[in-house]
């Protein structure tokens, strides 16, 4: 004992740790024997020091453990074996393999599509300029018609941007931006005339916004009033090349900013939500002398100092407008610019969501599709377990550890996930153009390594999720019981399997009901009686010479045979309708001062042209000279004012210089805004200052008639391109988001349901196979096919029904919150849920039936004879 202890322990530990295991006994033995010899020959002290020395000399490559361990070869064999077994099981159970592959690859494709879309949405307006991170925009809200109205475009009183930095030390600097996207001027060079949108920006703009300038210095453009920068597309269209555009003089036709400018820059528009073709210095806008507090429309962009707490800053500026106007209830809110795109809806002056809702919605749907596919995989592997239980048993007997088996099952699911990724990539690449068409984007799959990493990550997670249950469940069997076939698998796996099937069908039912309701709502919007006719009406800008002198043109137009009516108006239907307040009438209350009236000012025939129904009084007529100060109210306005006999009464103005207006008629409400808005108080009045022509064309001869209008237009208005739109297209455009959901939800729902059904199909067929003998015996004892089918279908139908019942309340809540966004919406009738539920039951039932009927008609003697 004593001797043993005298062997130095540290070197011994080192030997054991570092030397190759198979040499260890010999080496240790030799060292020990030699140590004993040395103790006898010299003394303990010396023997110990020799031992130390020898230990160090043992550290030679030939004796040390190899990097990566000695069992390397063994591991490789195992891996090869796993791969082989996986492929064999794929080949052997082709049906389940194909269903899994189809499910996982379409699930993955769905996720990949949505990932690309979400990533693109998240990157919009995220810039990497020096000060982009500190960039906030001031959002202005003010009370009107009893609610708090927020200007979502970020328009603020014009002097705000320059006043705030003087009063708040948190602000590093500020700059103004004025977008002019709603009205397009015409830019001319030589005989090329193109319509263009423009933007005015102040100094500081390029410290937060990117400016991809192909030619010219972006900073100096913002200083110089007489020079502009134009987009690459515009430069190529006007001058055939970006280089030739530089230094050229161009002529802009526009009411306020017309004139000739020098092109001193050409830029590439980037990934921003605000597109524009021409960039001006804000100094040019200042020339108009619209810099009073009551002038609005300029965006106030601030760059905060490093480390400023935005919430504290917001608390300070919230009621700033009360310093400008006494008792002002206006609210200001500084929102980080990068969040504006996704969080662009406001309530009480504070952001409450926006596009982020769709981003979340589709992420969740895609995730569910993938989960449904993963569930199929889990269910199949546990259901198949009896077939592979012997394999597991034998492996364990030979000496496989549980971890080996876990690796095996994970390996198998991972392999399938990778195969699915390949197919998913093929799907994504081939359907990307269609997807881009639906979403209105230009997504591409190959651009960056972020996408590659994300795709691989998603695939690996898919493999792990699918594999986790089989891996943990199947690897846990005791080998003896597994080999004897004593295991009652079903008691354990059945509960989980059942819950998973319920989950799948709950999701599928939610999707089916949602598709029905979304479709109904969108259909409702499309076909709803808007109160005006939007078909066969074309609209185009009223500009140039025609701006003032348009009557001869309209007279000529009306002579064209295919034209029914022609007129002009200010604004654009639906949505771009201006409003004003400050009216007074008999019996008005104090709060009514702020009542906002929307209005369309235009030509005599406008009410008729739009097919709006008159309830009372008359429409405008050239016979009454007084009609230039007359108005026609809508029903909502009449209700708001509270007059019993409105026709003939007068509406005054708080401004004494404005003449009173006589009410000559009342029209029925029509939807001049999107259906997400209630119909607001409104009136028509006469004006020659419209900015759009409206022309109603006889149905069936649109093409020829429009061609004639075009010829006429070009005669009358040289130098302006004729670009028309159908009013109906305008209307459709504002529902682009809803249409997108209809189409996408339909696709996703179909995929999810098909995957679920395939899963159900395979599960039924599997569970029936195990009961072949039972069926045969029941048949012998006198059961008929009908009874057998019922018996076999019952279990699964029950699961489907439970799933559907769970789905109903959830889908009800989801859809109600979606419909809440629409002021005019369908009611959530029970029919939708019943139809959706019955549809789901029906297809599930047919699926199950296809399997049960087959096995209810089996050959009894054959089934009993085989020992399967």
């Amino acid at each position: 004992m004593n001797k043993k202890k005298s062997i130095p322990r540290l070197p011994l530990k080192l030997i054991r740790w570092i030397c190759r295991e198979c040499y260890l006994e010999e080496l240790e033995g030799d060292m020990e024997e030699r140590f004993e010899d040395n103790v006898e020959r010299y003394n303990l002290q010396k023997a110990r020091s020799i031992y130390y020395l020898d230990t160090i000399k043992l550290l030679r490559p030939a004796l040390l453990k190899r990097l990566g361990g000695d069992i390397h070869l063994n591991q490789y064999g195992m891996l090869k074996h796993h791969l082989l077994i996986s492929f064999r099981s794929f080949l052997r159970y082709k049906g389940t393999f194909l269903i899994n592959l189809f499910g996982l690859s379409s699930g993955l494709a769905a996720v990949l599509f949505i990932y690309l879309w979400v990533q693109d949405e998240m990157n919009i307006n995220r810039f990497n300029e020096p000060d982009s991170q500190r960039h906030v925009q001031v959002i202005h809200s003010y009370p009107t018609s009893g609610t708090m109205y927020t200007n979502e475009k970020g328009f603020t009183p014009n002097p705000l941007y320059s006043t705030l930095p003087e009063l708040f030390p948190e602000i590093d600097y500020s700059f103004p931006v004025k977008t002019h996207a709603s009205y397009k001027g015409v830019l001319s060079a030589g005989d090329q005339h193109l319509r263009a949108t423009y933007q005015f920006a102040g100094t500081g703009y390029f410290k937060v916004f990117p400016g991809d300038f192909i030619h010219g210095d972006k900073f100096s453009i913002l200083e110089d009033k007489k020079s502009i920068a134009i987009s690459k597309q515009l430069a190529i269209a006007l001058f055939n090349s970006t280089e030739k555009a530089m230094g050229k003089l161009v002529e802009l036709k526009d009411e306020s900013f017309g004139g000739s400018y020098e092109v001193s820059g050409v830029f590439n528009p980037g990934n921003t939500s605000d597109r524009f073709d021409i960039l001006f210095s804000y100094e040019r806008f200042k020339d108009l002398d619209y810099m009073q507090w009551y002038n609005g429309g300029t965006q106030a962009h601030l760059v905060l100092k490093e480390g400023v707490d935005i919430e504290e800053f917001n608390a300070k500026i919230k009621h700033f407008m009360a310093r400008v106007y006494e008792n002002s209830k206006d609210l200001l809110y500084a929102q980080p610019y990068q969040e504006r795109y996704l969080h662009g809806k406001y309530k009480m002056g504070v952001p409450v969501g926006g596009r982020i809702a769709y981003v979340k919605l589709f992420s969740v749907i895609a995730l569910f599709v993938l989960i449904i596919a993963c569930i199929n995989y889990m269910n199949f592997s546990t259901a198949k377990a009896t077939r592979r239980i012997k394999e597991t048993g034998i492996k364990k007997t030979i000496g496989a550890r549980r971890s080996n088996l876990i690796y095996q099952f994970f390996g198998e699911s991972m392999l399938l996930a990778l195969l699915s990724l390949l197919i998913a990539l093929i799907i994504v690449v081939s359907f990307l153009p269609q997807f881009n068409h639906i979403t209105g984007k230009t997504l591409s799959i190959f651009p960056n390594q972020q996408v590659v990493i994300a795709f691989l990550g998603i695939t690996i997670i898919t493999g792990l999720i699918s594999g986790i249950y089989p891996a943990l469940h199947l690897s846990a069997f005791k080998p003896a019981e597994a080999l004897k076939g004593k295991l009652q698998l079903n008691t354990n796996g059945l509960f989980v399997r059942k819950s998973l099937v319920i989950f799948q069908f709950a999701i599928s039912a939610i999707l089916i009901v949602s598709v029905i309701v979304i479709y109904q709502q969108v259909e409702f919007i499309q076909t709803k009686n808007l109160g005006y006719e939007k078909d066969h009406i074309i609209t185009f800008p009223k500009e140039g010479k025609l701006q003032a002198d348009f009557e001869p043109f309209l007279t000529e137009i009306r002579k064209i045979p295919g034209i029914e009516k022609a007129s002009q108006m200010y604004g654009d239907l639906p949505g771009r309708i201006s409003f004003s307040h400050g009216y007074k009438w008999e019996g008005m209350e104090e709060a009514d001062k702020k009542l906002r009236f929307y209005r369309i000012q235009g030509g005599y025939d406008l009410v008729d042209l739009l097919g709006i129904k008159l309830k009372d009084g008359r429409t405008f007529s050239r016979e009454y000279a007084t009609d230039k100060d007359a108005i026609i109210l809508n029903q909502t306005a009449v209700d708001m004012i509270g007059l019993d006999n409105p026709v003939g009464r007068k509406i005054g103005n708080l401004n004494p210089n404005v003449p009173d207006k006589e009410i000559i008629g009342v029209i029925e409400n029509f939807h001049f805004q999107s259906l997400q808005e209630e119909v607001k108080p409104f009136f028509f009045s006469l004006s020659n200052l419209g900015n759009h022509f409206l022309i109603k064309v006889r149905a069936g001869e649109e093409a020829q008639t429009i061609e004639k209008v075009k010829t006429l237009y070009e005669q009358f208005n040289e130098g302006y391109p004729f670009e028309f739109r159908f009013l109906d297209d305008n209307y459709q455009a504002i529902y682009a988001a809803e249409k997108r959901i209809t189409v996408l939800s339909r696709y996703f729902a179909t995929i999810a349901i098909v995957i679920s059904l395939l899963g159900l199909l395979a599960l039924t067929s599997f569970s029936i196979q195990g009961r072949n003998k039972e069926i045969a015996i029941r048949k012998i004892l006198g059961s008929n096919s009908g009874q057998l089918v019922r018996l076999l279908s019952r279990d699964f139908m029950l699961l489907v029904l439970i799933g559907i019942f769970l789905a109903i309340p959830i889908s009800f809540l989801l859809l109600r919150s979606w419909l809440d966004e629409f002021a005019y919406r369908i009611e959530l009738k029970p029919t939708y849920f019943i139809v959706g539920g019955i549809l789901m039951v029906l297809i599930a039932w047919i699926t199950i039936l296809s399997q049960t009927v087959k096995s209810a008609n089996i050959n009894v003697s054959e089934s009993l004879r085989t020992n399967d």
């Binding site: 010999e26 010899d37 000399k57």
Partner: protein
């Protein structure tokens, strides 16, 4: 004979293994050689040479008895393969031919 050439030290150990016969295990080889060379050797040097030669096919080995002195660990007994004998002879021939070819065979 290009491949699997024996180093000088390896050759010495190989010959010692043959000399020691059934007693040819690590420590015994070491003792024998230390005595003959009159020089202290390390376990590592001996073992490395043994393992290398086993890998190259000059030696085979099997477990032997265990002793108290070894803390109950078994010895590993090495023996030379016929191939080793062949190589040894071959090298001896080369040497003696070289000796004979030398002009003034001196003695030490």
């Amino acid at each position: 004979m290009k491949k699997n050439r024996l180093g000088e030290f390896q050759e010495l150990i190989l010959m010692t293994v043959i000399v020691l016969q059934d007693e040819a295990y690590g420590n015994e080889i070491q003792r024998e050689l230390e005595e003959r060379l009159d020089e202290r050797l390390s376990v590592g040097a001996i073992q490395t040479a043994l393992k290398r030669m086993e890998e190259k096919g000059f030696l085979t080995s099997e477990w032997g008895e265990s002793t108290q002195k070894r803390g109950g660990k078994r010895k590993r007994i090495y023996s030379a393969t016929p191939y080793a004998h062949e190589v040894l002879h071959h090298m001896k021939n080369i040497r003696s031919r070289l000796w004979m070819a030398m002009p003034n065979p001196g003695t030490t």
